[in-house]
């Protein structure tokens, strides 16, 4: 008696209810970028700062969330301005403008959070101190969210 050959496994049910094998992009970003070191060379960097890079990461990694922490929460200060800088006979008006960077990120669809201890430390925990759409977040919640991201990085 010969044992009949094993049959190949049954093909998966092609019913419409089957999950899509190539799901679309996840609904929420898979990357959390934390910015906690602020003001790293307004004259040297000018436009080439960490948030300029962040916009590229957002485009290339399928979306990122940004958490501003420590002094970097002031990047989202609604009323802060970057004054021009006179050097020699030149007026430099192209210094790093973190508020402008944050606005560009928000316009590109990046969700920007500001950690509450930093907001309190820099007097920004009052009403109307933050740019619109920048959301305060407690330190506990920020830490608890790490596990929901595929990647957490510091910029």
């Amino acid at each position: 008696m010969h044992k009949p050959p094993d049959l190949p496994p049954a093909a998966p049910d092609p019913s419409p209810a089957a999950p899509d094998p190539s799901p679309a992009a996840p609904e929420r970003p898979q990357v959390l970028a934390i910015v906690e070191r602020a003001y790293r060379g307004a004259v040297e960097k000018q436009f080439v700062d960490a948030l300029y890079l962040a916009l590229e990461l957002h485009r290339r990694l399928g979306g990122i969330d940004i958490l501003l922490r420590g002094q970097a929460v002031t990047y989202a200060a609604r009323d802060a301005r970057v004054p021009p800088l006179r050097l020699g006979n030149r007026v430099v008006e192209t210094l790093t403008d973190p508020r402008g960077d944050v606005r560009r990120l928000l316009d590109a669809g990046v969700r920007v959070y500001a950690e509450e201890p930093g907001l309190a430390a820099y007097g920004m925990d009052g009403e109307g101190r933050l740019l619109d759409q920048v959301r305060p977040m407690s330190a506990d919640e920020a830490a608890a969210r790490w596990s929901t991201y595929r990647m957490v990085c510091f910029l």
Binding site: Y39, R40, G41, A42, V43, E44, K45, Q46, F47, V48, Y52, L85, R86, L87, G88, N89, R90, V92, T94, L95, R104
Partner: protein, 135 residues
């Protein structure tokens, strides 16, 4: 005999690296403020601060893809502007040893390179010395 060092009111020894903090910005602002008040100032750069005046930086930074026609002056250009605006008040020295150590062989011509052994002469030719940053 070494090159004579003009006497200045203040000597700023800039050691901190650029691109790490707003220290360079603060120092340039301080220089401008002192020079506008008629002060005579010398800057001595050590460590990575020697990179501020590299010719390789060019006159302007690279293009900004988000603002294609905007020109962003390099730090080398800004230092040259300062020196041109205050010709008898500001002197910019670069440490030869640190420049060699960090591959900075292309300072803009206005920068006077000095060996560490010359430092005492610069230090003696100033009223106050301000050391900014660490190597």
């Amino acid at each position: 005999m070494g090159r004579p060092v003009p006497h200045t009111d203040v000597m700023v020894i800039l050691m901190g690296a650029p691109h790490e903090s707003d220290q360079t910005t603060s120092v340039l602002r301080l220089l401008q403020a002192m020079l506008e008040r008629g002060g005579r100032v010398q800057v001595w750069t050590c460590g990575y601060a020697t990179h501020l005046t590299r010719q390789a930086l060019g006159a302007a930074k690279q293009r900004n893809i988000a603002s294609w026609t905007t020109s962003y002056p390099s730090t080398a250009t800004l230092v040259q502007d300062l020196l041109a605006a205050f010709p008898d008040q500001l002197y910019w020295y670069g440490c030869q040893f640190c420049s060699d150590d960090r591959g900075v062989h292309d300072h803009v011509p206005e920068v006077i390179l000095r060996r560490p052994s010359s430092f005492a002469a610069n230090s003696a030719a100033t009223g106050k010395t301000l050391m900014v940053g660490v190597i």
